[in-house]
Symmetry: C2
Subunit: 360 residues, 2 copies
């Protein structure tokens, strides 16, 4: 027995032997569907004694309202859309995605929302949002990894689909909701820390320049360097995918160059693992010969050390960000006409074993 069966022609036919539904339940109780529905949804027009009776019966018969029918009747789908790009070229699935979703999922679950995931190639990303809107399958969406002049924000406004951006677009704009960390200040402080330790040849291994966060981090880094009178060397600045391999290759090349950096500022712990490998391969010691500061998203399976941090790091939990972004979105959905919400989180700077005074 299954939910549906196929006829010979392949046309679907129904199978109504399903689970308990509202009508059946109300018949068992000798009440109207109206009353049962109201009782279960907590409306006041039903006496407390019948409500008790109804709830007991619902539990007894394991009754759950069909989300499909509920959605259709209410016009709300009780689901939030997330679009996960599965870039065909780079085969890169964002490693922080899982933790962000776990955080957001907690929030959603508490309010009865589900997650609708759309895994698409980058070039179909816009269409994925369009589909969400056209098929009315979600009540709101989260936008991940905003880029310079990101077309998604304009599209979502046009589609009138509530959304929250994790991160933000480069241009200041208070017409939409976002949650971001203070990337600029984070990298400025991180660079300053290294400068205070006596470093002046500090390399930046960053995410791709098209990403807003990467631009802001570079700006922060550059500001600290310039304020300290340190030269900004193009050969010491890389903006690329945040993979272990990129970290290794970039650091290897720099360490073999004419004026090798004595410190690295690295945008991701994964990239930093590659940098660490390069440092080791060059016969240098991390934290003594070469310092490294990273940004740590607190990815659950890549903790930055158990007790004390391994890498000195600017730190902000992406899981907490997911939780909060989910809250903001639900709030937007409940009250779409209130002004958008923006939150800028400051990061912690924690000292680990990967930094030390510049070698003399």
């Amino acid at each position: 027995m299954s939910i549906y069966t196929l006829t010979v022609q392949g046309r679907a036919t129904r199978d109504h032997s399903q689970t308990m539904n509202l009508k059946q339940l109300s018949e068992k109780l000798g009440l109207s569907p109206t009353t049962v529905s109201r009782a279960l949804n907590g409306y006041p027009e039903v006496s407390e004694t019948t409500r008790q009776r109804i709830q007991a019966a619902a539990k007894k018969y394991n009754y759950f309202p069909s989300t499909r029918a509920k959605s259709l009747a209410t016009g709300r789908s009780m689901a939030i859309g997330h679009v996960i790009p599965t870039d065909a070229n780079s085969e890169m699935v964002n490693p922080i995605f899982g933790d962000f979703l776990a955080g957001a999922g907690e929030t959603y679950a508490a309010s009865g929302y589900d997650i609708m995931l759309s895994a698409v190639r980058a070039e179909n990303e816009l269409q994925a949002y369009r589909d969400f809107a056209a098929k009315r399958s979600v009540d709101g969406v989260i936008v991940h990894g905003p880029r310079a002049d990101d077309p998604r924000i304009a599209l979502l406004k046009e589609l009138e689909l509530p959304f929250v951006v994790h991160g933000r677009a480069p241009v200041a704009d208070d017409s939409y909701s976002w949650l971001d960390i203070n990337n600029r200040r984070a990298f400025q402080r991180a660079a300053q820390l290294l400068i205070d330790l006596g470093h002046s040849r500090i390399a930046l291994i960053n995410g791709q320049e098209s990403m807003d966060f990467a631009q802001r981090r570079r700006t922060g880094y550059a500001a600290a360097m310039e304020a300290a009178g340190c030269a900004l060397r193009p050969e010491h600045m890389v903006a690329d995918e945040m993979t272990e391999g990129v970290g290794f290759n970039a650091a290897t090349q720099m360490l073999h160059g004419p004026n090798p950096p004595t410190a690295f500022l690295v945008s991701s712990i994964i990239t930093a693992i590659g940098v660490r490998r390069a440092i080791g391969a060059r016969g240098l010691v991390l934290g003594r010969d070469v310092s490294v500061v990273i940004h740590d998203d607190e990815i659950s399976y890549l903790r930055n050390g158990d007790r004390e941090p391994l890498f000195t790091a600017t730190r902000s939990s992406v899981r907490a960000a997911g939780r909060r972004a989910g809250e903001i979105l639900l709030q937007r959905i409940a009250q779409p006409s209130t002004p958008p919400i923006q939150e800028l989180w400051d990061v912690e700077l924690t000292l680990g074993q990967s930094t030390g005074p510049a070698p003399t």
Copy 2:
């Protein structure tokens, strides 16, 4: 304007100014909803010329059928459920999840299915599957990371919800569909490779014993060791979470022990990164003093080297597994009464830079 608005009492009221629906479209065309629906769904009872006309209009007015209504009418939700445990204790979100989903998502998208994600704490996992069934929000589910005597399999059978297991339960059972890699053979071959290189003190750093794959890998490892007459030392076998920290700690401890291993067999590239760090910290050289063989799931953001593999590895793409598991599930959904499908994939063994002859 939003999908719905709240009245003062908080009761939802409808807002029907929505997007184009079937009725509106059919009116514009001067046809009945029946005909339009049939035309768009490819049924034969409609002339080719009107079909063309209808399709053109649908495109012009950007008409998409509401999935909600469609689901209700057909009884199929056109969504696949995935439950992602967000364990509260370990805060561990499975790193291979993203890539598996990306693969499965490709398959789903090609058939018009969506992904419904349920992020729950481990203790609520069973309830998540129950909810999927009771709320009728998905047509089938994927079971991730099966454990010994996994209750989910029995539950799903009882719920009559089509499912496919990624991995399989320890007890042979051809009554359900699964897709697995040959973990036993993989680790047997990997251990054999090390033995052939002259190693005899080979450590195993494995996933938790409760996981089926970990048991099979240990069995394969043990078989090779015993066949070669190598002692199975308990202090050289670890079964724990597959994090960098665990790899580092376990390897550090072993390398400082009385009879340190000369080779490691590691269940995950993430753990192996910790092992590599421990080897470096001990002042040893990977691939010369100590050999390492890993299992590589080909996670997109943690490639095992660019061109040539970094670690010698048994290798199998988890993304490809997702694609195929999705296919199997869709097949099960379409024809639930056909016999279950089981697939056991063999892994590749690729040589990298992390293995060499045992030091003498």
